[in-house]
Homo-oligomer: 380 residues x 4
């Protein structure tokens, strides 16, 4: 793969590289790591790349790689830039004949996401989106159990994603993450919903198998001087009559990365928490709650295929992330070999999730600003 963004000091680029490396299926062969040429070069060399494949910008990278023999050039582009660059890089890469695996949110706004979908359809290239949390084996198990009807008809989805790292003005300190995520020109129209609320919404739809149909929102910038929300609460309605609640925040002091979901149906409930990702709770009206664990012999094929270590040897965030990468690599391989993707490769977030994610962010902001209670989540 080739990488755009993720130079020295960038958090998410390093994460992507480790995730790509774990399973030994993906090799980083080139990159355009920074808009500062010297930094880009330093970054690439530190990663052990051939100097000639450390490019000063993504356009050069796409052109140069496309010019290489097919069996030498990169096969896909990983995009780990700030949000406003996701779309132009993805579009150019797809047009240049490369597959794309992008960090989320997919684009700067919904309009771009719709445009991106058109490009994906037109080019026929593969597009993946790193909704990392879908990569956890027990999230996949949860999805499958709901789909099999074990919980009965879904009634209630409670999803929350509290963080605390922006509880004070980190943007005034030398915190680059804080700076771009709170900057409307780079992050888009939302900080909290755009960065983490969208993960929560995606997880709710992924596990429940239901689409959100209506929303009522109350977003806030609690810390003075911010242009974008750092907190938000959203009432949800789903197809089929289920209801829900989404809460995400960047100002819940002391919270780390508290993504957590509970789903209740007519027959049973489930609970999963990102900070204890190797445990999935199933709850029943008349029997003891069951604690499912990553690696358990009672788990389904999808969860098992996405697990590397035996029970009790905890897997974490990087392994979940790696599952997205490995699924995407499997899709590429299947296409090359003209076969069906294997079980592990079938379950990778893509352009549909990209569009829904951007639509969610926009609707949350719109609904919050409105005096009207309910807002329809349109199909795009």
């Amino acid at each position: 793969m080739g990488m755009v963004g993720g130079g020295e000091g960038a958090f998410i680029g390093e994460i992507h590289r480790m995730a790509a490396a774990i399973d030994g299926q993906i090799e980083l062969v080139c990159g355009a790591f920074s808009s500062e040429p010297a930094k880009a070069l330093r970054s690439g060399l530190a990663l052990g790349l051939d100097e000639h494949r450390v490019y000063p910008d993504y356009s050069t990278m796409l052109a140069s790689e496309a010019a290489l023999p097919e069996n030498e050039r990169m096969q896909f582009v990983a995009i780990v830039t700030p949000n406003h660059l996701h779309f132009p890089v993805a579009e150019a890469a797809l047009q240049a004949g490369f597959h794309v695996l992008s960090d989320k949110p997919a684009t700067f706004d919904l309009a771009e996401a719709l445009e991106l979908r058109a490009v994906v359809e037109q080019t026929g290239q593969l597009y993946g989106l790193t909704h990392t949390y879908n990569g956890y084996p027990l999230v996949k198990e949860a999805k499958e159990r709901v789909a099999r009807g074990e919980l009965g008809t879904i009634r209630k989805v409670v999803v929350e994603y509290p963080q605390g790292w922006l509880a004070d003005r980190q943007e005034d300190a030398d915190n680059k993450q804080a700076q771009w995520r709170l900057d409307p020109t780079r992050a888009g129209i939302s900080s909290c919903m755009g960065d983490i609320g969208v993960h929560a919404a995606n997880l709710a739809e992924y596990i429940s198998g239901l689409q959100i149909t209506e929303m009522c929102a109350d977003l806030t910038a609690f810390v003075e001087g911010r242009d974008l929300d750092d907190d938000g609460s959203v009432l949800l309605r789903f197809e089929g009559g289920a209801k829900g609640l989404l809460h995400s925040s960047q100002v819940c002091v002391g919270e780390e990365n508290g993504l957590k979901i509970r789903v209740y149906g007519s027959l049973g409930g489930l609970e999963w928490s990102q900070q204890e990702p190797n445990t999935l709770w199933l709850k029943w009206p008349d029997r003891p709650a069951e604690m499912l664990r990553t690696g358990g012999p009672y788990l389904g094929e999808l969860a098992s295929a996405n697990t590397r270590t035996p029970m009790g040897h905890p897997e974490g965030y990087l392994e979940a992330f790696a599952n997205i990468y490995t699924a995407f690599a499997g899709q590429i391989r299947a296409r090359e070999q003209n076969t069906d993707p294997d079980v592990r490769s079938r379950d990778c977030p893509g352009i549909a999730e990209a569009v829904r994610g951007m639509a969610f962010i926009e609707l949350a902001v719109t609904a919050s600003a409105s005096d009207t209670k309910w807002h329809r989540f349109e199909q795009h």
Copy 2:
């Protein structure tokens, strides 16, 4: 004390009696336990009461007790009937010169609560309300820490109260609790909000020290054929700019009695969960989270005064309930002795909480039925 309601087979009457007994300060001396005279008598005798003080109805009880010499008669009435009788019994008892300790919700509707407040003011008798969860030592500690400013300016209150016991049609089984709580003629206009949502709202105001000023609500009767809500989500706004989220449900299958609150300020956060009531979390931006425990030497006077056993000897629901009873008994004693209530007696929910509780329930129902997003929580 004398008790109205709580005959054979009643859940909450037995709870009240145990709570009243623990500290050895309160003696049950009479009761009107049931509208069925034979059952009332059986119940009273089983409790070891003198046959002459087991009354067929509350009017008789009030009249007969009032006729006894002052040092023989009951000093207060504990009301543990279904909701629709709370007000008439309380009113009659207060008018007859007795103090009243009532189960919640205080009355059938807000109008009654306001009337009750007038009666309390006019008679000058003491009135207490068993918002049990305030009775936990660590809930009191939480309140005091917030009041002292340890969390800074409060920004966010997340309170939830999921239960699962009404996830199927218990009202069709021989479940008397389910029957009256879902019956609008006995329970009032709400089941979920009236029974448990009101506890959550009270806890949020108690700990944060802030009053709710606006609400946006979405209540649901998930189980077919119900006239009253069995689930509800409420967005909250508090005085001073804090915001919040309240979720309560009776259909979250597998949940027991999951009252839980998190409060976040500009400097720190806290978390407390009723099912693990002897732990209070304090969370900080730059130091490790602290786990405070019931009985800890670092707790304040109020928490300590409400604790009976050393650290690690868990106290539970009955002890929290007993704290309400003991506080109320202390208020009576202080009045008799013309002294100030001691630390333990100062902190007992009363008529103000009664009125706010009924106002909360009514506003939640109104707001849910409305297309308008925000509804003001009026001062009454």
Copy 3:
């Protein structure tokens, strides 16, 4: 009941009184609360006793109460003195025709325990011992599940009881608890094993249904200047080939009252922790672990009969303690009524546990002092 010991400022006397009061079946009618007459009187009056039944010493109490008409006098004596007085008071009370419920350890040493057993047999009075932790509903459930063979053949018992309150020289501060528990003339030959190790051993035998047959011990007085152990580790062997491990300590800084047991058989395992007493874990080789909860509909008759509140309304230490009292009261009632004890009264620790407890303490001390590895736990 009448109480010996437990005057002002005594910890365990107050606990016993609350435990006795909860279920409304037992009334404190007299006491000999202290060897200081003025303190004894103050204590009794503060408890609302009739001045004539607040006695200066236990001999006077036994004589005076025995002289009262049968339906007026106390029915049993609760003993809550320091250890060295347990035996003389119990013996005298039994001889005087009263039943006895004693705090543990039952006596000062094993010889006394054997003597006490003879007195119990000879007088035919009832004798109960407050091994409180057996009173928890889920401990009873655990015992029953093991007895039913759900775990298969028991192989391993791991029991631990760490506390930290004696990690520094509390005996030099004004801590009366610390003073007598570390004083060989009042506590006996062991502090840690005598106070809490014996609880752990009892729990291990109670739940596993197996008797300890051999022990290898290493006791320590970690804090300088102590005559008695404040820590101990014991290897255990049980009848039938099971093995075990017992660890108890009073110097594990920061630990509260960490009694915890795990039992593993050929088919399954269980885990219970006193600080989270409303949860019992069952663990299986090929299915998810199950979390049983106090009040659950799937629990057996014994656990259910010993539960007062619905699921999710936590019960604690006082309720477990009350279960011992209520069981003992039920035994007295059954004897008076010449019936079989009901389910709740059948399960109360008595003289057999008293003897085994004292034998355990003595053997732990002997084994620790010896260079021989294994020491037989003789039948007495």
Copy 4:
């Protein structure tokens, strides 16, 4: 690196490869994956190796690689065979001029370990041992806090490592792991102590900074027909007067990989659990317990240098394993560059831990078979 062992279907080889890959510093360039040539070749090709560097046996590999130009050949050998081959492979590799990173236990018996130490000293090559659990950031933090004296004088170390996977006769099923680990010709004189007890002992010494000086042991083969222990309990004494308890088992049904340690000193205590590796508890006599979390800003340099993701993004077993690999790679790099190892590379288990581990296993077996209570842990 080159790998010996770890062909198709081998558990630990795959783990080593993933751990080596995460940080992008180590490349697998060759291997002798199996004693079956066809399987060895298939395994190597599946890993993307050049066919010429997939060797039929380790001798060929060592010879062939040594013959390559220095900048092309492997720099170190990772050994992931069953135990009986650890020593011969390590010895040959060291003699051939390669560094060695070996799975544990280091050798088949203590004699071999001592011989290995001589070879290491004589060749001057680097030797690392994958005591994986030392690789967790919070284990390192724990060690540093103890070393800084935050807990005061250490008194008690309680370490346990229960697993349940051998609770039935897995060796009769097609479980290769079970087969070789219970086979004295391949595993050595112990199964439970050799496989996991040695981890527990290492962790106890690593964190406490104290060496075990005496042991009293009781090992058992609970499952019929086994030649080697599947369970063991050990009383420990440490230099300086601290005492301890080690419990490990392969028959604790339902337990996964429950390595857990608690250390208590005169001033404070700590607790860490491998299944929740991102939490470290510090416990104090008079202040609330503190929950330290991986990635926390309050952690020391060593923990921070071994952490890849921000707080709340859980790291797991593979990351801990990777820390060992990365530390070893750093040592090699430092030697090549003739610099001091950086903070991350200073802390890698090596030949000293190898010898102590083998001595521990032998002494546990000896002590268990003996009637003598205490056995000295000699310095070797």
